[in-house]
């Protein structure tokens, strides 16, 4: 890994915690030093996750570590159970308690006898992998813990699987998905796995007619729901006008209902209006600085934006994933082993359209057109909930950036 100058990749522990925090009615209890919890709160805030009364820490003393004393954990579990009455308490180990081998599973097993809440031990201490792995575990836990056996299907409803606060502008994207599903099929949202959800909503996961899977990390949960409730799923998200049209067709095929012709017509009109961008691409291809783009972010987003670039005929010359590529089919995406390699790759890019996080954008040359599309955020804020990157509005927004980009060449 070498020297890290900027932000390291968040760990599996961080990923699992921010995913579990998305379910109101559940509590996350960290068994470890309090400083990490305190430090983390501002990051969750930036992601739009409000941890008030849903996140706690036990803290740890030297005595606890030396003696393997778990009294502090037992008391914290009792207090949370009595004081906040959560349906579930996720007891998450820390790097320290992982190393000393604290048996949190054992504690959860015997403590469950004396309290009302369900206790789930999460022994993700931060050493197994990065946040992508943690999110995968989080989605699986939320699904398998809460989805109930007996559930009646809700007609014309869908779930979103794999939403996350760590995806920039996800609330806006969810809003766009609602619009597309409503306008396209008159379908309404049932539950969201990974963001702005609740224990109550998640118990109804099996009730939806279709699952829309946005991230690869949620595929396992989708397969589980398909096996358990027979719910089909559509993997992928709507990026670009053409991508949105394709995605709507996939949903249509899965649910056996045609896309509303009005929405299809609206998309056709948008595509026609955007046809000029293909022409720009061929005109500018002969210039000294030929159009090219750079995509940095999570794999699913990169794949989505790649489709957009294809649609406007701007070649993508570099794709960098923020997380490990293990388990992903992403041959053309790189994840440099050392941060220095990533810095060098980005610094050499000039006159490019760059979509990525604040640090990657900072590293690129000033001649580039830079668009924030990913976490971590340093200079940028995320306030609006009506400015998606997905769907029709997402493409509208990104085309404005493409337009600015041509102005630079």
């Amino acid at each position: 890994m070498g020297l890290c100058r900027y932000l390291p990749t968040p760990s599996d522990r961080m990923g699992v915690i921010w995913t579990l925090l998305s379910a109101k009615g559940a509590v996350v209890l960290e068994y470890g030093p309090a400083g990490t919890t305190h430090f983390s709160v501002s990051m969750y805030g930036q992601m739009g996750v409000e941890p008030n009364q849903s996140l706690f820490t036990t803290h740890l003393s030297e005595d606890d570590i030396i003696m393997g004393d778990v009294t502090r954990l037992e008391e914290a579990i009792r207090e949370i159970d009595e004081g906040y009455h959560p349906e579930v308490i996720f007891v998450v180990s820390s790097s320290v308690t992982s190393i000393i081998g604290a048996d949190i599973k054992g504690v959860c097993t015997y403590m469950e006898q004396e309290i009302n809440a369900r206790l789930i031990a999460v022994d993700t201490g931060g050493f197994k992998g990065d946040y992508s792995l943690g999110m995968r575990e989080g989605y699986n836990l939320l699904t398998k813990t809460f989805a109930t056996d007996q559930v009646e299907k809700k007609k014309a409803s869908y779930n979103v699987l794999g939403a996350s606060g760590c995806d920039y502008r996800m609330r806006s994207d969810l809003w766009e998905l609602r619009t597309l599903m409503q306008e396209g099929f008159s379908y309404t949202e049932n539950a969201i796995l990974g963001m702005d959800s609740s224990v109550t909503a998640l118990t109804e996961l099996g009730a939806a007619e279709v699952n829309l899977v946005l991230r690869e990390e949620a595929l396992e949960a989708a397969k589980y729901l398909e096996k358990t409730y027979g719910t089909p799923y559509v993997y992928g998200a709507p990026y670009g006008y053409e991508g949105t049209a394709c995605w709507l067709m996939k949903v249509s095929d899965t649910i056996g209902k045609s896309v509303n012709p009005e929405l299809s017509a609206k998309l056709r009109m948008r595509k026609m209006n955007a046809a000029g961008y293909k022409m720009y691409a061929s005109m500018y291809a002969h210039k000294e600085n030929r159009p090219q783009s750079v995509l940095v972010g999570d794999v699913n987003r990169i794949q989505g934006f790649s489709k957009i670039m294809e649609e406007v005929c701007i070649p993508v010359t570099l794709k960098i994933s923020n997380h490990s590529l293990a388990g992903f089919e992403a041959e053309d995406i790189v994840k440099p082993a050392k941060e220095k390699e990533k810095i060098d790759l980005l610094k050499e890019k000039k006159y490019s359209l760059v979509l990525g996080d604040d640090i990657s954008l900072y590293l690129c040359d000033e001649s580039c057109e830079k668009v924030v599309t990913s976490f971590p955020l340093i200079r940028s804020k995320q306030i609006a909930e009506h400015m998606p990157l997905m769907g029709i509005r997402g493409m509208d927004y990104l085309l404005e950036a493409v337009d600015r980009y041509y102005g630079r060449l």
Binding site: M1, G2, L3, C4, R5, Y6, L7, P8, T9, P10, S11, M14, L29, G32, P33, A34, G35, T36, T37, H38, F39, S40, V41, S42, M43, P51, N52, Q53, L55, F56, T57, T58, H59, L60, S61, E62, D64, I65, R72, L73, E75, A76, I77, R78, E79, I80, E82, G83, S95, V96, I99, I100, G126, F127, K340, D358, I359, Y362, P376, I378
Partner: protein, 436 residues
């Protein structure tokens, strides 16, 4: 949650023998205290040309870098905070090689003048010998490489991180001859928040042509640290600076004066007198006038403050001195949140116990406090809390936002003004007139 039950777990100040007797309000904490890693970050941030190299998990290094980008004197994305991220391999086999590789990269690309290697909890559990690694690197690269240990499981909050970083700087100080020592020069040790240049003490020193040398951790350079022993006296403005002051006294013979953010006018005057003695200057007439003015203000405030019941949280002031002052004003401490205990022989502890025996608990756990308020029914809360939540329970919040950059009689004046304002507010709330 049951407030009575929570309170039943707490000890009263008079029953405390050591800091271990100060219990947490609850076992489940939110958000919990900051860790010493943050303290070390704050301290290194104040040394302009030093680099912070955090040796820890993705999580510790991520949050530290993120915090430095937003502030703490580091400024910007390309700042002086770097890290070496530990993985499972390092936990099992040690991090020596990884640190050496990263350090080489740091020297090749950045070439810092000094590096603070800050360890985190994991390394202190695995027992990796970072001190010897730092010594090796120091010899190899011929720059100061200072290890600072910041395991949170041994400390209550971030202050030990500031203290230990500041104390580590003694190894960078050069020995000086008697002729090089200036009795018209002082060092400022322990200013962890706010700017010393904005304090009354600074104004007074400048007025008397006293040169300010090293200001650690409030904003200094490696050169200032190197020549710190040329100062005639160290002014310790927070007790976290005491270990460094003691070491400098032992190693260089530099005396020190304790000049904390005292509230009581007589303590401020006493600190000025002691300092002026060392500096061999006459007591300032202006200060005498200020002292009399503060004594009068204190007397005037007693009428409104007397009888006010309060819960003490975390403030920028010295906990026990401030509480002793408020007790002397006729106020009643119901609960004191603190991570320190100076001992039963401490004069401030004694002064408090002469009148009251308040509950004590560790700080930074505001969630369960809501239930405690219903039982204790305070009029005032001092420290960081959600104001609207307090007002709903008819409690007025006493702010301390402006105190960071104060030292001297300004502290007394500001504290009294704020206490009086909050007390009036509390009375209005009690009468049902102050809802926001």
């Amino acid at each position: 949650m049951n407030g009575t039950e929570i309170i039943s777990r707490l000890k009263r100040l008079g029953d405390v023998n050591s800091v271990k007797d100060i219990n947490q309000l609850t076992a489940a904490l939110f958000p919990g205290a900051h860790c010493p890693l943050m303290g070390a970050m704050m301290a290194v941030g104040g040394i302009e040309d030093a680099v912070l190299l955090v040796l820890g998990t993705d999580e510790c290094t991520y949050y530290t870098k993120k915090a430095t980008i937003g502030g703490f004197s580091f400024k910007g994305i390309d700042n002086r905070c770097f890290s070496v991220v530990l993985d499972h391999h390092d936990v099992t086999f040690g991090c020596r090689e990884k640190l050496q590789d990263a350090f080489k990269e740091l020297m090749d690309d950045i070439a810092p003048k000094a590096v603070f290697i800050v360890t985190t909890c994991v390394l202190e559990v695995t027992g990796d010998d970072v001190d010897s690694m730092a010594a090796e690197l120091e010899e190899q690269y011929r720059i100061p490489v200072l290890p600072v240990h910041t395991e949170h499981f041994k400390t209550a909050n971030h202050i030990p991180g500031v203290r230990d970083t500041v104390t580590a700087c003694v190894s960078m100080m050069e020995q000086v001859s008697n002729e090089q020592i200036s009795h018209k020069k002082v060092n400022i040790i322990g200013q962890r928040m706010g700017k010393f240049q904005e304090t009354q003490l600074y104004e007074i020193l400048v007025k008397h042509n006293i040169e300010i040398g090293m200001m650690l951790p409030g904003g200094t350079t490696l050169e200032d640290i190197k020549h710190a022993a040329t100062a005639g006296v160290n002014i310790v403005v927070n007790e976290l600076g005491l270990p460094l002051a003691e070491r400098m006294k032992k190693r260089f013979g530099t005396p020190y004066v304790m000049f904390d953010k005292y509230v009581a006018p007589e303590h401020v005057l006493q600190a000025y007198e002691e300092l002026f003695d060392y500096l061999k200057i006459e007591m300032d007439e202006e200060l005498e006038t200020m002292y009399k003015e503060c004594v009068q203000l204190t007397e005037d405030a007693k009428e409104i403050l007397s009888g006010m019941r309060y819960v003490y949280g975390n403030t920028a002031l010295s906990c026990y001195e401030y509480n002793a002052f408020m007790v002397a004003m006729g106020m009643e401490p119901l609960l004191i949140q603190t991570n320190e205990y100076p001992g039963a022989a401490d004069s401030y502890v004694k002064s408090i116990l002469e009148c009251y025996n308040p509950y004590v608990t560790k700080s930074a756990n505001i969630a369960p406090l809501q239930y405690v308020y219903d039982e204790l029914k305070p009029n005032l809360y001092l420290g960081h809390e959600y104001e609207n939540r307090l007002r709903a329970k008819k409690i007025a919040l006493v702010h301390d936002n402006n105190l960071s950059s104060m030292l001297g009689f300004d502290v007394t004046k500001a504290v009294l003004a704020e206490l009086v304002r909050a007390a009036k507010d509390a009375k209005e709330l009690a009468a049902g007139e102050g809802g926001k």
